[in-house]
C-alpha cells in the first residue's frame, strides 16, 4: 500500500511512519508532503492508497486538501491526525469525506483501530 503522510512537521511525519512500523506494517511505501498544497500535488502524481493528514498547515490546510481532492474526483481513503478534535472540526471532516480523525497525541493502538475500521 502507498501511504501519503501530509504534515508540516517533519517530526510528526516521522512519528506517523514509525507508528506504522510499530504495527508491523513496515512494508508500505511512504510518501511525505510538507503542507496541503504539496499533498495535493503528490496525491495527483503518486496516486496513494491512503492519505493521512494534519489539519493546520501553511499554504493549504488539511481540510482544504481533502475538499480539493474530492472535488477532483479522488476517492482515496483519507484520515486526519490532528490537534483539532472538537465536534465542529470532526463533523466538517466527516462531511468532506474523511474516514477517520485521530487526536494528537496518538498511539499505535489508536491508529490500528482507525485503520481496522476503514478496512472493515
Amino acid at each position: 500500500m502507498k501511504i501519503l503522510v501530509v504534515d508540516d512537521s517533519k517530526a510528526m511525519r516521522m512519528i506517523v511512519i514509525r507508528t506504522f512500523r510499530q504495527l508491523g506494517q513496515a512494508e508500505h511505501e511512504f510518501v511525505e508532503a510538507e503542507d496541503g498544497a504539496d499533498g495535493l500535488a503528490k496525491l495527483r502524481s503518486e496516486q496513494p492508497d491512503l492519505v493521512i493528514s494534519d489539519w493546520n498547515m501553511p499554504e493549504m490546510t488539511g481540510i482544504e486538501l481533502l475538499e480539493a481532492a474530492r472535488a477532483e474526483g479522488a476517492t482515496t481513503t483519507f484520515g486526519f491526525i490532528t490537534t483539532e478534535t472538537s465536534t465542529e472540526f470532526r463533523e466538517r471532516a466527516i462531511a468532506a469525506g474523511a474516514a477517520f480523525m485521530l487526536a494528537k497525541p496518538f498511539d499505535a493502538v489508536a491508529l490500528s483501530e482507525a485503520l481496522g475500521a476503514v478496512a472493515a
Binding site: M14, N56, T85, T87
Partner: protein, 161 residues
C-alpha cells in the same frame, strides 16, 4: 476578571505530555519563569481566527530539548550534550514546534475562541510586539517544572490573554 482562555493545570500537562512522549512525566507548579535576554528557549504563540494572540507557551532550553528528544527518541545522553551546546538548532526548534502544536489542545474549549499555533519563536531572539505584549502583561499564567522519565527536568509556562 477571569482569563479569556483556559489555562491548563499541572495534571493536564502531565497527561498530555505522558501520552505524547509515551513515558512518565511529572509536572509541578513553580515560580514564574523569567528568561533573560540571552537565555535559550522558545515561545509558542497561539492565535484566534482573527490572528489575535490569545496564549503563549514559554519553554526554557532544557524543556525544549528534552521533550523534543523524548518525542523522537534521541538518547538522553545526546540530549544532555545538546543542552550543553547552549543553543537550539533548526531540528530541535522544529520538533519543539510539534510539541507546542499538540499543547494547543489544552487551550481550546467549546466556550472560548478557537486558538491554533501560529509561530514558534526561538530565544534568544526578537519577538513581535503582540507576543511581547502578552509576555509582559498576561491576564493569567501558570508556570510548571516538568520531569520526563529518563531525560530530566525543564520548565514551561502558559500565559493567556
Amino acid at each position: 476578571m477571569p482569563a479569556h482562555y483556559p489555562v491548563p493545570i499541572q495534571e493536564d500537562i502531565r497527561d498530555l505530555l505522558g501520552d505524547l512522549l509515551a513515558r512518565g512525566v511529572a509536572v509541578d507548579k513553580t515560580t514564574a519563569l523569567v528568561l533573560d535576554d540571552d537565555a535559550v528557549g522558545v515561545v509558542a504563540s497561539y492565535v484566534t481566527a482573527e490572528d489575535e494572540v490569545g496564549a503563549l507557551c514559554v519553554c526554557d532550553g532544557r524543556f525544549a530539548v528534552l521533550a523534543g528528544a523524548a518525542l523522537v527518541l534521541v538518547p538522553p545522553n545526546v540530549a544532555r550534550e545538546q543542552i550543553d551546546a547552549g543553543e537550539l538548532d533548526d531540528t530541535q526548534v522544529e520538533i519543539a514546534h510539534e510539541v507546542a502544536n499538540i499543547l494547543s489542545r489544552l487551550l481550546n474549549t467549546p466556550r472560548t475562541p478557537h486558538l491554533r499555533l501560529r509561530t514558534l519563536h526561538r530565544l534568544p531572539g526578537e519577538l513581535p510586539p503582540d507576543v511581547r505584549g502578552l509576555l509582559d502583561r498576561p491576564e493569567f499564567r501558570r508556570d510548571f517544572v516538568t520531569a520526563i522519565d529518563g531525560y530530566g527536568e525543564g520548565r514551561m509556562s502558559i500565559l493567556v490573554a
